[in-house]
């Protein structure tokens, strides 16, 4: 490897590291300079827009207008003429062709199992770790996968799921365990058990993704758990409630609002799933998801019209969560 590139390009890095903040500081100072030249009564009208301006510009340029553009394009063919719902018809017209496999995987497998697994593991670990003195150490270890990229996560789990035909030495961790139990090795990422429903390989992908994100739900749920007043638990114990009853009747209901907030975040993650699938199966063996399908339509098929339609399907799937988030936000605002 040629490390000399690092030496020759370090000046570039320095120019950027110094230049970018300088440009940003320059902007805000220039803005204030201009505002101070204005008459007193105009200042409060102009100033806020200069402070939010760059942010609104970026949001409009990279989120809002492109979003509208994609929605418009989903009703046009690749030459730009209006075709009504034809793109959606291509994606949804023939079950189980088009986008249906990806929709099923996102809206049933990922949405249900990913969300449930992550919440269940997060809650279990939060409750268990609360009872040991070395809590912060074990928490860090569980949390660590959060810091690494999904690409690295995909590589790690490819090795867990490594498969050799029956009779050969199994070098993958899971298949070695399976062989130990005198069972034939399983092709975790290809096996579409049961039948061709492809539950098994999708669950394998979901497990890998769950492993990566459980630290996130554990940390939040653990904070909520610690927010429950000790007196309350003490009172329940004095009344003779067992630990399991206390969990079911006191802890769980009190944590419910937090579980819902974490759950909605996880639903969004489940619908946006991309990296893990891209690295581990590339959507083969009926493991496709909407985000990956959109990417492949865009870059392999160069079919912008269909890709837009898939993106809009993804948006429609997210809208209930979006509305829930807005309601939640307004409820919190109202309490402020």
């Amino acid at each position: 490897m040629d490390f000399s590139i690092l030496l020759t390009d370090i000046p570039t890095l320095l120019v950027v590291i110094l230049g970018v903040p300088a440009a940003l500081m320059g902007y805000i100072m220039l803005s204030e300079f201009v505002v101070r030249r204005l008459p007193d009564k105009n200042r409060p009208q102009v100033r806020p827009w200069l402070w939010v301006g760059p942010a609104l510009f970026l949001v409009a340029a990279f989120l809002l207008f492109p979003m509208i553009g994609t929605i418009v394009q989903s009703f046009e063919d690749n030459k730009g003429s209006f075709v009504g719902l034809q793109n959606f018809g291509d994606q949804l017209g023939s079950y189980p062709g088009g986008s249906w496999i990806a929709i099923r995987n996102n809206l049933i497998f990922w949405l249900i199992f990913y969300t449930l697994f992550v919440l269940a593991f997060g809650l279990l670990l939060a409750v268990l770790f609360d009872r040991v003195p070395y809590e912060s150490t074990v928490k860090s270890l569980i949390f660590m996968p959060m810091a690494i990229s999904s690409v690295a996560l995909g590589v790690i789990w490819k090795f867990m799921y490594w498969y050799q035909p029956s009779g050969e030495v199994q070098t993958g961790t899971l298949n070695a365990l399976v062989s130990l139990l005198h069972h034939d090795p399983v092709a975790w990422l290809q096996d579409q058990w049961p039948g061709d429903l492809a539950l098994l390989n999708n669950l394998a992908l979901i497990t890998a993704a769950t492993w990566g994100i459980t630290g996130f739900s554990m940390v939040i749920l653990s904070a909520a758990l610690k927010g429950i007043p000790g007196d309350l638990l003490e009172a329940a114990r004095v009344d003779g409630a067992g630990e399991i009853t206390i969990f079911r009747r006191v802890i769980f209901p009190l944590m419910m609002p937090t579980i819902v907030v974490v759950g909605t975040t996880l639903v969004i993650f489940a619908l946006k799933a991309f990296d893990v699938v891209y690295v581990m199966t590339n959507g083969l063996y009926n493991s496709d998801v909407l985000a990956l399908r959109m990417y492949n339509l865009l870059y392999l098929s160069r079919n912008n019209a269909s890709a837009s339609a898939v993106a809009v399907i993804l948006l429609i799937a997210v809208i209930p969560v979006l509305i829930f988030n807005l309601r939640q936000f307004r409820a919190v605002e109202a309490r402020r």
């Binding site: 950027v16 100072m29 942010a55 040991v132 690494i148 690409v151 690295a152 993804l314 807005l326 307004r330």
Partner: protein, 310 residues
Amino acid sequence: MSVTTAGRRESTAATYSLPWFSQQISHYAVHIVVIGLTVIWMIPTVGLLVSSFRPFSAIASTGWWTAISPPYNFTLQNYSDMLSQSNLGTAIFNSFMVAVPATIIPVTIAAFAAYAFSWMNFPGRNWIFLALVGLLAVPLQLTFIPVTTFFVHAGWTTENLEATGIPGLPWLPLWLAHAGYGMPFSIYLLSNFFRALPSDLFESAEIDGAGTLTTFFRLVLPLSVPALASLVIFQFLWVWNDLLVALIYVGGAPEVAPLTVNLANLTNSLGQGYQLLTAAAFFSMIVPLVVFLSLQRYFVRGILAGSVKG
């Protein structure tokens, strides 16, 4: 007298011995379950780490767990092969070139905006903020086609930008895209923090004649270091670990593409050469793990601030 005392003591022992015993068991059971789960959780990572130091012949013929007992057979061959083969120097440099400005730009701009949302009045303020909360959930997939089309039409392609010779310019599209995508969350997180600052502070600053800039740089920013730190870590890790956005905008340009794209290509192209992949995957984790381990406190705090609202 003595008989009754003895009797009472006996009955006390009888009522307490069984719960005491089961308490001991459950006490140890908790430790066993906690440590067991943690060990299971670490197996995937440990397996890959061990594999990355094993020679190819050993990886292909035996499982990684056989390597942790003698005879030991470890090597750095995979790391040196990987470093010589896969253009890694460029990719690492590119990752920094993408991640550092794509962190500085959105955090700074979001801080300006969050200050305005929290402590200035302007028409439509609450509605714009509500729109930002809505945009938090919008999938980035909805933006890729128009933004790519725009970059191509505007001539902001990697070749054109490189031809200008201005340092950093080839990465500008990625910086701006990451800044735009990170903006709703950044503004949301910082506004929550800025709004919680006591209003007396701002009143006394105004009485003392401090201008908007002074208040922002001398008062708001220093008081918000914890929130800024967690946002910086978040955004940095998000960009450093991002694959999708990089694939879309610079996937075909290895001279500017970051490490994740490089690693994903390696996954797809090497096929059987997977011993190099082990080393490459670990290499890509070094920076995020260093950031995470040294600044874990802020990272966790940021997660809590971002999710548990109010």
